[in-house]
């Protein structure tokens, strides 16, 4: 896939890389190092400065005090990834297989929600499915649904919001993987007496797996760190790791524990990313 006529270089590539590389070193590596240092510091009260002390107890505190939030973050992110896959795959498949000359337009439509604010789109759901909305009214009229039925304000509305907000990240890589597949393969499978369903699961689906993995990673990562959806679509009972980190950092000024929490999140996700890029390279992660 590499372009033709690539040159061997020693000095030039590093010269081209250096401005961006220095920026990343200074504003990504140094901050992560600072975060690790703070996570190992003690800060007896909110008015004192943190002091570095190889204090690993922050990690214990992080897990014991906020295990629930950890569990919820990963549960919600996992469910959102699953739902995004279940509804995103058929859409990506339809566009790739039946889109014809409308392919580019249809996949362009998938990206359009990106161009309106994430925050406002999330607030939009509180209006569309809020307690006073037409949709909620209609649902309350159904048999077996009580008058106090609500879409918003529970774990499923949070998961729904996460699924909604990160769905395009699932659709795009799956589409890219499917688009490379020659769909006449299903005909070949049919000629060999495979049913269309078997043809799909045995031939097309395995070929699209790299896209599925990339999409899952791209949905799971932001979903696990998000706290916007739980702020607008959830309740205090649906608080997640992001809510705690923000609160501890900006309100409680309890930097060491918040830093330990962030590092846990980062470590888990970095391992997943490294495994992915060992298996599939980094190309699929830039949609």
């Amino acid at each position: 896939m590499a372009g033709e006529g690539r040159k061997n270089g020693r000095f030039v590539p590093w010269a081209l890389l250096s401005p961006g590389g220095l920026f990343l070193a200074l504003f990504f590596l140094v901050p992560v190092w600072a975060l690790a240092r703070i996570a190992l510091s003690t800060k007896p009260s909110r008015f004192e400065d943190p002091a570095f002390a190889w204090d690993f107890s922050n990690f214990g505190t992080a897990l014991s005090d906020y295990g629930g939030q950890f569990g919820r973050s990963f549960l919600y992110a996992g469910l959102a990834t699953l739902f995004a896959f279940i509804i995103g795959y058929p859409l990506a498949y339809s566009i790739a297989a039946y889109g014809g000359k409308w392919k580019d337009l249809l996949i362009g439509l998938v990206v359009i929600p990106f161009f309106t604010s994430f925050l406002i789109r999330t607030i939009a759901w509180t209006s569309i499915l809020g307690p006073q909305s037409v949709v909620t009214d209609a649902f309350r009229g159904l048999p077996l649904v009580g008058d106090d039925f609500n879409f918003i304000g529970n774990m499923w509305s949070v998961v729904g919001g996460l699924t909604y907000n990160f769905l395009p990240f699932m659709i795009l890589p799956i589409y890219v993987a499917l688009e490379k597949i020659d769909f006449r393969l299903t005909e070949a499978a049919g000629d060999l007496y495979a049913t269309p369903v078997a043809g799909f699961w045995r031939v097309i689906f395995p070929l699209s797996l790299p896209g599925v993995f990339a999409g899952s990673l791209l949905v799971f990562i932001p979903a696990a760190g998000d706290f916007i959806n739980t702020r607008f679509l959830g309740t205090p009972k649906t608080s997640v790791i992001g809510s705690v980190v923000q609160d501890q950092f900006l309100v409680q000024l309890n930097y060491p524990v918040a830093a330990a929490l962030s590092l846990f999140l980062m470590a888990i996700i970095t391992v997943a990313v490294l495994i992915y890029s060992k298996l599939f390279g980094t190309e699929g992660l830039a949609a």
């Binding site: 006529g5 990504f28 600072a34 339809s94 929600p113 309106t116 006073q132 049919g190 980062m266 992660l285």
Partner: protein
């Protein structure tokens, strides 16, 4: 068997239509509710149609200030990120060199690190260095997440590029600068432009990282979040609709441009 196939196609199309509805419901809501004349402080329930919001989109001064700040930050961050990111993409796709796969991973990590961690780690460093948080620290934070994004998308776009074209230009007597400005630059431009456009959208949209590094500076998402405790005004919908229209026009324009080029 072909009946089964057709049924499969039908149901796939129905599912796709429903998924599109799910994707677009909030977008439609934003546009429709920009014409609402809400009864209270929250523009969340439909009351009556009005053109007032569109006639006076900048009536809310704080919102307008935050909007302008967001545009300034996005402009600066995207410019910085696009220049540095495009150079990195060029280095990675044009040259073979030792360590390029390590650079690849190094580029992916900021993109795959949860925003909350990026925001928190930058804040820790700014506290360590005693840097006051504000406009500049927001620009730095936004440049950070746009940089990896630009570098990786541009790299993906130009990975199939035939670099022998540059040699051809040199053979025809073009100097290095002329080769770059007449051959290389026009070819990578559509990819760079698309990446810049998307990172502009990422920047004006960001809440999480900004909330850590904002100091007293308010961007539009910060203002919306903070003021949501007391109000949610229809002018927000108007500004969001404007951003939507402008970016869709630019997006369509750039894809038409690159389609023409490739023909």
């Amino acid at each position: 068997m072909s009946a089964q196939k057709n049924r499969g196609k039908r149901s796939l199309q129905v599912i796709s239509a429903l998924v599109f509805l799910y994707l677009f419901a909030p977008i439609l809501w934003i546009v429709v509710f920009s014409f609402n004349d809400p009864r209270g402080r929250y523009n969340l329930n439909w009351s009556s149609f009005t053109l007032q919001n569109w006639l006076h989109p900048f009536a809310d001064k704080e919102l307008t200030d935050a909007f302008v700040t967001s545009l300034q930050i996005a402009f600066l961050a995207v410019t910085l990120a696009t220049v540095m990111g495009a150079l990195m993409a060029l280095a990675l796709s044009k040259f073979r060199f030792r360590g390029s796969s390590a650079v690849d991973i190094f580029l992916v990590l900021p993109l795959t690190t949860p925003e909350i961690v990026l925001g928190a780690s930058l804040l820790t460093m700014f506290i360590d260095f005693d840097w006051a948080r504000g406009f500049v620290t927001i620009v730095i934070a936004h440049t950070l997440f746009c940089l990896s994004f630009v570098a990786l998308t541009v790299k993906a776009r130009i990975s199939g590029f035939d670099w022998r074209l540059e040699e051809a230009a040199a053979d025809l007597g073009a100097g290095p600068w002329r080769t770059f400005s007449r051959v290389t630059f026009p070819l990578i431009l559509p990819g760079v432009f698309a990446a810049a456009l998307l990172s502009f959208a990422l920047s004006i949209d960001d809440y999480i990282i900004t909330s850590f590094n904002k100091g007293q500076t308010n961007t539009m998402p910060i203002h919306i979040w903070d003021s949501y405790k007391v109000e949610f005004r229809p002018e927000v919908n108007v500004l969001a609709s404007m951003i939507l229209v402008v970016s869709v026009v630019l997006l369509v324009g750039s894809s038409v441009m690159s389609a023409r080029r490739s023909r």
